[in-house]
């Protein structure tokens, strides 16, 4: 005769425990759980992972992707996609470098021009998506190729860097320096994440972004300017991609037309890992930033354990499938 075994937790209790641990879909607790697992696994894999030097280096090298993911998060939260951020990163970085090196503009002005370029292209993308009603996937696939083409034209397909002995300083207003022993790029990245999350959580615009992603008709019914809001999301995405381009140029002291290669999909993966579903409506910028950081950790630990960087894609794919599975899961019980 079978005997009933009393398990410590059963059915509903398990779900309650799960909710307590990782929250509902969209909760920042889910990417945090991924981060904790990634940190533990990386520490086990390499003893040098949890060293101050490595963590600083990890944050600096991940800062570009995190900034890209923050912009992408606004677009995905509204149920759209921006495939062109990596080309914008390269193109804006090349523009800033070209203005600085070839046109002799001051670093801060080159930086500003690149940001304005990102915002203008973002607004054009937004206008085509909302006014002409071309799906964002198609329009941004266009900017992906178009901006890459423009980036290649700046210096005949070659990289741009200050020539040896040149008086040109490639810091764009000192953004590549350090403060308190940490790269300024990390502070910039943190500033972007905090500002974006504050907008999303505490301003009506942030609420409207999530509302439009959740139910666009509901937004329209209460008078939210949905089209302008979508344009704004692409402006934010374009501007932050341009910022990441200048950041990467300042960090590398050079910029290639293909510097952003592969980063669009990585940024989108970070956003999904961060708990923002593909249809939008819920999730956080902090979550997207953590998702991007997890991808950065995967890259970092592959180097630390001496694996070929070719393995990166397989690891990212595995984590992304896991993220997709958790996003698919329904809400836990109340």
């Amino acid at each position: 005769m079978a005997t009933a075994v009393a398990l410590p937790l059963q059915g509903r209790e398990w779900r309650r425990f799960g909710r307590l641990l990782v929250g509902n879909p969209g909760s920042v607790r889910r990417p945090l759980a991924f981060l904790v697992v990634a940190v533990i696994a990386s520490t086990i894999a390499s003893s040098s992972f949890l060293t101050l030097g490595n963590l600083k280096s990890l944050l600096t090298s991940s800062s570009f992707l995190i900034v890209l993911a923050c912009g992408e998060a606004f677009v995905v939260l509204m149920g759209m996609i921006d495939l062109g951020v990596e080309s914008m990163l390269s193109c804006a970085g090349m523009l800033a470098a070209w203005l600085l090196v070839f046109e002799g503009l001051p670093g801060w002005l080159s930086f500003l021009c690149a940001m304005v370029f990102g915002a203008v292209v973002g607004s054009l993308v937004g206008m085509i998506v909302t006014r002409v009603r071309v799906p964002s996937f198609v329009v941004t696939l266009g900017t992906y190729w178009g901006l890459l083409g423009i980036a290649l034209l700046f210096n005949g397909g070659n990289y741009i860097a200050p020539s040896e002995g040149s008086h040109v300083v490639f810091t764009f207003g000192g953004i590549a320096g350090t403060s308190f022993g940490v790269s300024n790029l990390v502070f910039m990245m943190l500033g972007v994440v905090v500002a974006a999350q504050l907008v999303l959580s505490y301003t009506p615009v942030g609420l409207w972004v999530r509302a439009v992603g959740s139910n666009e008709q509901a937004g329209k019914a209460v008078g939210i300017p949905t089209r302008n809001l979508k344009v704004t999301a692409f402006v934010v995405s374009g501007s932050l991609a341009a910022l990441a381009g200048v950041m990467i140029a300042a960090w590398q002291v050079s910029i290639y037309p293909t510097s952003g290669s592969g980063m669009s999909l990585q940024a989108i993966a970070g956003v999904i890992l961060g708990g923002v579903p593909f249809m939008g409506g819920r999730g956080t910028v902090v979550g997207a930033a953590i998702g991007a950081l997890v991808i950065g950790i995967i890259n970092d630990v592959i180097v630390l354990v001496g694996l070929s960087s070719n393995y990166e894609y397989i690891f990212v794919a595995a984590v992304l499938v896991l993220a997709g599975l958790q996003a698919r899961g329904g809400e836990f019980v109340k």
Binding site: Y202, R210, N215, A221, E331
Partner: protein, 306 residues
């Protein structure tokens, strides 16, 4: 027959008295039927000769209608009769091609949903509830009209507090921080209605509110409609469930192929008589039915009184 004469009102006394005006052509353009609920001075909103065309199709054709304070007006008609289009003209979602609107006797225009809500204090509750399932209850309640600090920061604390107060007024167990997607259809209806109460709207338009909820919850919703009336609101209720209309409406307006066929007080009406009117049937037969019902009522109460 002229356009005006096609709109018919039937007058039946609210209580006792001799029923009059059997199938009379409308004298006024109002299309209303004064006398049903007692407070009939100035209409809250008057619609005058309003038409809406979609290309060659006339969706709403020269409609005149008055909406009075604190009344429930049932709006019925067959599919394609123009009910939803008519409501969309009141909400500003569509603009009327012809005609005018009077708000408390003053001519007004309705050009946008925002204007309709803020200027005319009209709230629309759609058949497919226009709520965001990924937002919390309080976020849905205040969406588009958030309370702010310093002009740009949401006053989340006050909004949560006010949301809790409104939900309590509507006798709901829903909590402000609940995720909308976790609520039942009936609870979501409460949230949609809560917006109207929260922002002190005067007129609430409800398009098929019982279509998406279980039969067991219909009575709860009708109780909410009565509650809204008790709170001083006017409700225009569109429903294919004619028994719901009969249960709560003070008057019933019937649209047939975009035209206002008639407006009848909800006295002695039956589902059969409403179906008769919905398909363009004569108001005289309905008036006969109403007269009969009024006579029965009078006889019963007379006998009780005697």
């Amino acid at each position: 027959m002229s356009e005006q004469a096609q709109t018919t009102q039937i007058q039946v006394p609210a209580s006792g008295g001799t029923p009059t005006g059997k199938g009379l052509p409308s004298e006024a353009l109002s299309g209303g039927a004064p006398g049903a609920t007692g407070q009939r001075d100035v209409p809250l909103l008057s619609v005058r000769g309003v038409s809406k065309y979609f290309g060659p199709v006339t969706a709403v054709d020269n409609v005149d209608l008055d909406i009075y304070p604190q009344e429930v007006l049932g709006l019925i008609g067959d599919n394609g009769a123009g009910k939803s289009t008519f409501l969309s003209l009141l909400t500003g979602y569509n603009r009327a091609d012809q005609g005018s609107f009077l708000y408390k006797g003053t001519p007004v225009t309705i050009t946008s949903p925002r204007e309709s809500r803020n200027k005319l204090r009209i709230e629309m509750i759609y058949q497919q509830l226009q709520l965001a399932r990924d937002l919390t209850v309080w976020e849905n309640l205040f969406l588009g009209e958030e309370l702010r600090l310093w002009g740009f920061v949401m006053d989340r604390r006050t909004m949560r507090k006010q949301a809790a107060s409104v939900l309590e007024r509507l006798h709901s167990k829903v909590r402000p921080n609940d995720l909308l997607g976790s609520l039942s259809g009936g609870e979501q209806q409460v949230v949609a209605i809560g917006r109207a109460v929260l922002f002190e709207r005067d007129i609430i338009l409800m398009d098929e509110p019982t279509a998406a909820i279980s039969a067991a919850k219909v009575e709860d919703l009708l109780a909410l409609v009565r509650e809204l009336k008790a709170l001083g609101k006017s409700v225009i209720l569109v429903s294919h469930r004619l028994e719901d209309i009969l249960a709560v409406a003070d008057r019933v307006a019937v649209l047939v192929l975009g035209k206002l066929h008639c407006v009848v007080p909800n006295k002695g009406l039956s589902v059969a008589s409403l179906v008769h009117l919905m398909f363009g049937g004569s108001t005289e037969a309905v008036a006969d039915e109403q007269l009969l019902a009024a006579a029965r009522w009078q006889a019963r109460h007379g006998a009780e009184g005697g």
